[in-house]
Symmetry: C2
Subunit: 132 residues, 2 copies
DNA sequence: ATTAAATTTGTAATCATTACAGAATTGTAA
DNA sequence: TTACAATTCTGTAATGATTACAAATTTAAT
């Protein structure tokens, strides 16, 4: 669907920069950080401010368009895939992989209202593991 | 088991302060932050430095005695329970609850070497939910 | 007791993120 | 078009957790 329309549907005015930020995160599988978003878009939008990127991703996250991930515990990453899934970070090649979480994966939260789920594993991916 | 012996068994010299830090985290269910550890121990050890707390918890984590948790994305919390389990943070009362993760909860990581797992949910706990 | 090694401490630096206020842009009505 | 208000964008300064580092202290062994 048209990104501008998606933003509008969430009561966010689809300014050019907002659409650029939304599109980049949506089309980037690595779940970019604010810095990566800024570095990628800055050549196309020379006056872009880091603060604008921070503001936009926060706005998208609070509207449910993005999920905020603290995958490495250093910088927050943003994911336009809202569905329930896990993230695996390879500590050798630094890539991030998505993986599936089964239904009823947990117990002990009966009666709790779960609004946010974050699942983060790390180690060595299959490629890096076979190199060693 | 004796905390000093546990540290020794992991090739960590059991200094008084290290044992105090280890004991406090082990006996505190809330998975304290460095600041909470420091604030709690400082009256008993007036010369304690925050840096020492940082050094010690990092040492314990790298030795496999603690797990580092980025539950709220702001401060790192430390957990002396090494077993695989999840953490739920209630956004109303700010408490952290442990919960069980089933075996084979995920798929898509065949052949990967998983060395660290972090599972973090948030929302409203059963008590806060019933208050509303 | 002396000396070397390890630990502890305190200050200064780092770095991601946020606060904030002014500048620029957009939308609307005459 | 012009004027005006509302929103968005920008840049600098502040915040706050964590780390770097070197000096001070403690520990261990001879």
């Amino acid at each position: 669907m048209d990104s501008a329309k998606i933003l509008s549907d969430h009561n966010i005015k689809p300014s050019i920069i907002r659409v650029m930020i939304y599109d980049f995160v949506k089309n980037t599988k690595s779940h970019p950080t604010v810095d990566e978003i800024y570095t990628h878009l800055q050549p196309m939008a020379p006056t872009l401010s880091r603060t604008t990127v921070y503001n936009s991703v926060k706005l998208f996250a609070s509207s449910g368009l993005f999920k905020a991930l603290s995958i490495d515990g250093i910088q927050i990453r943003y994911d336009a895939d809202i569905g329930h899934h896990g993230h695996f970070r390879c500590e050798e090649c630094d890539r991030v992989f998505d993986f599936k979480i089964h239904e009823d994966a947990e117990s002990g939260l009966d009666g709790f209202d779960i609004t946010k789920r974050e699942i983060f594993y790390s180690g060595s991916c299959i490629e890096c593991k076979s190199k060693n």
